[in-house]
């Protein structure tokens, strides 16, 4: 069992947890992910590692409460344990040699972009971090990002922080002003990553994106996470999750991400009542 050491709400829908998993804490590198199961009837859910503390033997995950599993996960409190927690999976990001980088994160993708930015910053690279949120309320990791970047640009869809627009508008502004990047790293929703790639293509800047498709085992066994890259079939779990953004078949990836929409809603609806009970219990147990 894997104990929850810390639980902290970053805002209303996003939660951070530190999980006790010493093997993974020792090994995980930026770009890699874990797979967890909340309980014995739970599905296997991949989450990118948002940080590690090898000394304490903990792994940080950050998740958005969107479906049944993430809502169920959020019902657990500090001191509770997860049924399963396996990793680190996937290939670590190849950051060596990058000198001037724009790290772009959208929404929850910011949580995954942060360790990459930090690693690059620690390596001495010049790191511009561009992040976007729907509004000010949903911003996460602002202090951390500030500490891990040369310049930090924060955009909001509604302009509530005074910078209205998408991450792509901020990126384009920098590029138009003559900013040079040797690499761009983009992590977030598929449509955001595709929009970033459409810009960086024009400037011919190599762009690494991170896929987060539906997975089961995460070791290459099932092939559920397949994605077409440069016309070839790749498995995100063993060949990725990082890929060359110029080569990804985005339409296919977007369609595959939608495969279980109906079942996801059904799962949530069918267990809504159960979830309510667990939530209530968690609240009572929590305080």
């Amino acid at each position: 069992m894997y104990r929850i050491v810390t639980k902290r709400a970053l805002h209303e829908t996003v939660t951070l947890m530190e999980i006790e998993a010493p093997y993974i804490a020792k090994k995980a590198k930026p770009g890699q992910f874990i797979i967890l199961r909340v309980d014995d009837s739970g599905e296997r859910v991949p989450l990118t590692v948002a940080g590690t503390d090898p000394a304490r033997g903990t792994v940080t995950i950050i998740f958005q409460k969107v479906g049944y599993t993430t809502k169920r996960l959020d019902c657990l409190n500090e001191g509770d344990s997860l049924q399963d927690f396996v990793g680190p999976l996937g290939v670590a990001s190849h950051l060596a040699g990058m000198k001037k980088v724009a790290v772009i994160g959208g929404g929850l993708g910011v949580a995954i972009a942060y360790p990459q930015a930090k690693a690059l910053h620690d390596m001495g690279a010049e790191v511009d971090v561009i992040v976007g949120f729907r509004n000010t309320e949903l911003m996460i990791l602002m202090d951390e990002l500030k500490a891990a970047s040369t310049n930090l640009y924060v955009m909001t869809d509604d302009g509530s922080n005074g910078h209205k627009g998408f991450v792509t508008s901020a990126l384009e502004e920098q590029l138009k002003a003559g900013k040079q990047y040797d690499h761009v790293i983009a992590i977030g929703p598929l449509v955001m990553m595709r929009a970033v790639v459409n810009i960086t293509k024009q400037y011919d800047i190599p762009t690494v994106i991170s896929m987060n498709p539906i997975m089961i085992d995460g070791t290459g066994m099932c092939g559920c996470c397949r994605v077409t890259v440069g016309g070839e079939m790749k498995f995100a779990c063993v060949d990725g999750p990082d890929f060359d953004g110029f080569a990804v078949d985005w339409d296919e990836a977007i369609a595959r991400g939608r495969m279980y929409r109906k079942e996801e809603a059904e799962s949530l609806e069918c267990k809504a009542c159960n979830l309510k009970n667990v939530e209530l219990q968690a609240k009572r147990g929590g305080n």
């Binding site: 099932c222 092939g223 279980y260």
Partner: protein, 464 residues
């Protein structure tokens, strides 16, 4: 006097139109009287041809003789002395090409139903509280086993009995490998696999789940930092193959591994009570002709598909699936489209499968496998309307260990190269066996390889 009936006694079974709607076990096996009756058909031949047909050399006439005398617990001890998973083998071994193929009674009539008898004995003993075999005293040496499928479990059991401290590392959350994620409940109940694994744990085999060797910890770390004197790699053939035809990434196209893992390991047939879904739709096509294809097709039928097709490019004679599985599938209403090969999977406007284009084949000259090579029949292109396609054309070995273990030699197609007589790899103290060496094969061959490696590991470590 032996019972000279020419045919095997049939096992009790759920009726086809009942069982194709549930996931309970199809065969209900023999009762005591049936087992004794069938056991009496054994001639107890002196030269024991059946034993040579068994990859783990179960002393077949001896255990069958004990069944005939109603000494069922004693029969179990005979089987278990060479076979770590009798209840599993009695159900999923291809006896017709192994022990039963060599049975003298098969020359005139049907062979003795060795598989059904083995299953009966194992079930009887487990229900009547068989005590686990006592291992030899601890010898202080540690062996690591990678993967808890049939090869790993067998190797672990044999080494533990010899007094080694054995730890199995399993990547998934449940031990059992293909016995748990691949073979369906209706052919191999998971409770039974749990019971077999528990008997190994009872004698002291440790199992660490959620440990991906090559990622969570490497093989070299096991040997150099964790104090293991030897490692056995039984990581299976866990990388699904696809045909390379257009449309394989459409929604509704599954590898057999994914389809069966969702159903067996993740219990998608009880969704939404359990959290992992699977989609089947009205019409499902399974591409391939092996046991895995039969498992996928029969699972699709049970999940409510009206029409389930097996689409196979050769003829029924060439199908690698066991005769019994094909027979069961047909009884359950699976439609066999032989000499048919898919050329493209077609999608709708949402990127979901709607149909599959196929061509008909005819058989030409024998190829490298000895089977007649299928060639395309001109002008035979046609489409089948389907909502789901399951690709069951085989697996390659998982490359994770190969990629993270310098100096471990592998074949071009990924299989780990070993000395067949010992399971030794190109790396010192590293052994391998099962599908990761041979490519996708059978449970019993993997068990045989686990056994061979256990003996070789014991030989190496006893010299130290």
């Amino acid at each position: 006097m032996p019972n000279m009936r020419l045919t095997k006694l049939p096992a009790r079974e759920q009726a086809p139109d009942v069982r194709n709607k549930n996931f309970n076990e199809v065969s209900q096996g023999y009762d005591e009287a049936m087992a004794v009756d069938e056991a009496k058909r054994c001639l107890n031949c002196k030269h024991k041809p059946c034993v040579s047909g068994c990859p783990v050399n179960v002393r077949i006439p001896e255990f069958i003789g004990l069944v005939a005398e109603e000494k069922f617990m004693e029969a179990y001890e005979v089987i278990r002395s060479t076979n770590a998973l009798p209840a599993v083998c009695g159900r999923v071994c291809p006896q017709e090409t192994q022990c039963e193929e060599k049975c003298v009674r098969g020359i005139k009539g049907e062979p003795v139903a060795i598989g059904r008898l083995e299953r009966f004995v194992a079930d009887y003993a487990m229900a009547h509280g068989a005590q686990p075999a006592k291992p030899l005293p601890d010898n202080g040496k540690k062996v690591a086993i990678v993967g808890s499928g049939p090869a790993g479990l067998t190797c672990a059991g044999d080494l533990r009995k010899l007094g080694y401290e054995v730890t199995i590392f399993e990547a998934l959350h449940t031990p059992g490998g293909v016995l748990v994620y691949g073979i369906p409940e209706f052919r191999l109940p998971k409770q039974l696999v749990r019971d077999e694994i528990k008997t190994l744990e009872d004698i002291g085999v440790k199992i660490e789940t959620n440990m991906v060797i090559g990622r969570s910890i490497t093989l070299d770390e096991l040997l150099n930092e964790e104090g293991f004197s030897a490692v056995f790699v039984g990581s299976g053939a866990g990388l699904p193959r696809f045909q390379g035809i257009p449309g394989e990434n459409l929604n509704g196209v599954y590898s057999a591994n994914e389809f069966l893992t969702r159903i067996n390991l993740m219990k998608a047939y009880t969704f939404p009570k359990t959290d992992t879904p699977v989609q089947v739709g009205k019409n499902a096509a399974v591409v391939g002709g092996g046991n895995v294809a039969m498992d996928a097709a029969r699972s699709a039928k049970r999940l409510g598909a009206e029409h389930v097709y097996i689409v196979y490019r050769r003829g029924e004679q060439e199908m690698p699936a066991r005769v019994e599985e094909v027979h069961h599938a047909k009884e359950e209403g699976i439609i066999f489209k032989m000499l048919t090969n898919p050329t493209e999977i077609l999608g709708d406007e949402n990127g979901h499968v709607r149909a599959m284009t196929c061509v008909e084949m005819e058989l030409g000259e024998p190829d490298a496998s000895g089977r007649r090579r299928p060639v395309v029949k001109a002008g035979s292109e046609h489409t089948i309307d389907v909502d789901t396609v399951v690709i069951a054309i085989g697996n390659s070995p998982n490359p994770l260990i190969k990629n993270t273990t310098p100096g471990l030699n592998t074949e071009k197609w990924g299989g780990i190269i070993v000395d067949e007589a010992t399971g030794k790899t190109s790396r010192a103290h590293v052994y391998a066996g099962g599908d990761t060496v041979t490519g996708a094969a059978t449970v019993i061959l993997a068990m045989g390889a686990g056994k061979t490696a256990a003996a070789a590991i014991h030989e190496e470590l006893s010299k130290q």
